[in-house]
Amino acid sequence: MRKEPYLEQNVAIRMVDITKRFADVVANNKINLEIRFGEILALLGENGSGKTTLMNMLSGIYMQDSGAIYVKGERITIKDPHDAYSLHIGMIHQHFKLVEVLTAAENIILGLNETRLIDLKNVREQVKKICDRYGFVVDPDKKVYDMSVSEKQTLEIVKVLYRGADILILDEPTAVLTPQETDKLFVVMRNMKADGKSIVIITHKLHEVMEISDRVAVLRKGEYIGDVLTSQTDPQKLTDMMVGRSVTLNIDRPEPVNPKESLVVKNLGVKDINGVKKLENVSFTAYTGEILGIAGISGCGQKELLEAIAGLHKLEPGSSIMFYPRGNKEEGEDLAGQSPIDIKHKGVHLAFVPEDRLGMGLVGNMNIPDNIMLKCYDQGKSPFTNKKKPRQQAIEIIHDLEIVTPGLRTPIRRLSGGNVQKILVGREISSDPYLLMTAYAVRGLDINTSYTIYRLLNEQKKKGTAVIYVGEDLDVLLELCDRILVLCSGRVSGIVDGRTAKKEEVGLLMTHFKEETA
């Protein structure tokens, strides 16, 4: 079959020579992009390559400094989100734009002012129509704070469809979804495409690009690199376009050298504020020179486990956490009942990356050296702070992790999410701990940075550090970790060998206890 050339009337949006600056940083430089109807376009690029900025100009959050936007052939200016809606452009942001205390229906009609009084009956009917058409499930009377992440995302999509959007932009929609939820989302996206809508998906997960998209456009450092049809490319080619040089997509996994017991956890139990058991009878051993992966559906106790080891939780009686620095049996000590600061001084470090990245561990209004100092404020001798060492450390982290920042004095909240995360993880790694715990270290990071983090973790491993790695991506866990502990509803449902285990096996363990209790 001969491929039809795309006709001009098929073009939903054409962006011509778009440039956008933030102070001195050029976020987008003369970008030309075409978005077509009945097509899923993947917008691919590393963190800070300007994907979100570019799309935010379509959704009316930002305005371009120069360049033109044509929607359905007509040159237009999008001053604010209202303009975007009237042009039928709808964006689903990475951080959901929902009001927590309102119901789904109330969120949907927000800002529309179709009627003077809130007409919930009408909204419910309309929502049901949209849901039936594309295969969504939304309870219009459910409050957003009661919803799971995937429900919130569905609500976001229904919200823009309710506003009549036929051009949908999804900013990293799968970053927070489980594999099953991602599949459901893709089904819906295909339904919308079949309905003639045009969809842009911003992502840096290559297998998703290959699975869902028809065409891929690649950005690199604010520049438009080019577009290719998905059917005519492969992950390796895309990575090369994205990074600008060849990157090997294999994670190194050296054999552990002389592993010794580093952390022996026995019968660990933790309850939350309401007395609900978060961890029950958790026992495992972490060895020096080994990466122990922890897998599980989100909220199954991964966070609590790491926090318990770091001394942030009250433990149930009978719990014991024996820690042997560098595997040295004589120095062994029970961490249970010790204060977080004592535990830290023994060389146990925790890098936890929460969903919003900033919430735990970093202070947005402080600069990089000050944030590093948060971990060593008690080391000086005089009452005055010593900024020399943190500044040195900051320069090293910036160099090693290729952090993009205007300078050491810039408050970190001004940096992009990926860069903030590099600081958080980099700080913990650079302090040479004996036991390094990371949770979601690569959450939302691009490929290049993710591999840098894996490399740094492996370096720690080679030094003889015991590494505990809580991850979301099963493929990565199976490639990186020596052993994988699977948590299910706060209990250990199995510990498997990372070299021989199959993905399905781990997946089954993740849901194992749930089925039993359900």
């Binding site: 989100p81 009001v99 205390v101 309102l102 927000l110 009627t115 809130i118 704070y145």
Partner: protein, 327 residues
């Protein structure tokens, strides 16, 4: 029985002052603006209405009651709206810190009001001489023949129209916030301005309007204070400021729900006057009773904090400035 009726009436008069203040502040806070300048706004409302009617009563031989009421209302509303506008300009347009601005505003408005209060007294012939009798009487006009209805009449019908206006406003604001789309938009601005902005809501406009209208309502509390509670006189002892802070506390007590502020305000009134009706209290032990409303507010805060119910929490973006391209 008489004792109870008298306490009940005193509570309602007291409560109405802070009810106006609280209802206006609820409207303001629902937009995410924390206006701690309620005492100052009430100062402005009271002194402006007093100045207006003072000149009217002075230059007109027989003041017409309805004109007195209109002049007082218009003066109070304009002055307190200007106060709200100043606060809005500083915190929304110039993005000053809301707490600092609110506190500074109180100092400004307190000085402003007491300066002109003093001047009025001087004009009227000396300290404590100012008295707008006709206006105060007009504001305190009660429903005719309420006495014939026995205790019911005394308990519920023996007040000027502002008492009923305050109750009406509390319900009206609640209806507006929960039932109308504009109210829904307003709530979203206070909860999550970025979301509201992305939904096409003009965050700045909503914040300005609700802060100014909220200030106008709060200012009526000052008007009621000077015309009914003080019976048309001026006293620069700062008691209006204390009432303003009680109104701020009442907003928290009512967990940002205007109808709850109604009975809350009367409860505060009752607690504040209780010492007067408990026999054999010394001067010093009376003071202990005056802190009861604050203790109750603290208790409510603790209970609300333990409930973890998002619906009873303050608006999520309360006190935070909003700027679209900020991250």
């Amino acid at each position: 029985m008489n004792q109870f009726i008298s306490l009940f009436q005193a509570s309602i008069v007291f409560g109405t002052v802070i009810l106006f203040g609280a209802v206006g502040e609820i409207l303001t806070e629902k937009s995410g603006n924390l206006n701690l300048g309620v005492p100052g706004i009430m100062y402005l409302g009271s002194i402006a209405s007093l100045i207006g009617v003072f000149y009217y009563e002075r230059y007109v031989e027989n003041p017409i009651p309805i004109v007195c009421i209109l002049i007082a209302l218009v003066c109070a509303i304009i002055a307190s709206m200007l106060g709200g506008l100043l606060f809005s300009f500083m915190t929304i347009t110039l993005r000053c810190n809301q707490n600092v601005m609110g506190l500074a505003f109180n100092i400004f408005a307190g000085g402003f009001a007491n300066f002109y209060g003093g001047s009025l007294n001087k004009l009227a012939g000396g300290v404590g001489q100012i008295n707008v009798l006709a206006t105060s009487a007009a504001f305190r006009t009660k429903i005719p023949s309420y006495q014939s209805l026995g205790p019911f009449g005394h308990l519920f019908l023996s007040y000027g129209f502002l008492v009923y206006l305050a109750i009406f406003l509390a319900f009206a604001i609640s209806w507006f916030l929960t039932r109308t789309t504009v109210g829904l938009n307003l709530r979203s601005v206070g909860e999550n301005p970025a979301t509201a902005d992305a939904a096409g809501i003009n965050v700045t406009k909503y914040k300005y309007v609700s802060t100014c209208v909220g200030a106008a309502i709060s200012g009526l509390g000052g008007l009621y204070y000077v015309m009914d509670y003080m019976k048309g006189t001026w006293d620069s002892d700062g008691s209006i400021e204390g009432l303003g802070w009680l109104a701020v506390a009442l907003v928290i007590f009512a967990s940002w729900k205007a109808p709850r502020a109604i009975w809350g305000s009367y409860l505060f009134g009752m607690l504040s006057w209780a010492y007067f009706y408990i026999p054999e209290l010394t001067r010093s032990s009376q003071e202990i009773f005056k802190m009861l409303p604050y203790i109750v507010t603290v208790l409510v805060l603790i209970v609300v904090a333990y409930q973890h119910k998002p619906d009873n929490q303050p608006p999520n973006a309360l006190g935070l400035p909003y700027f679209r391209e900020d991250r």
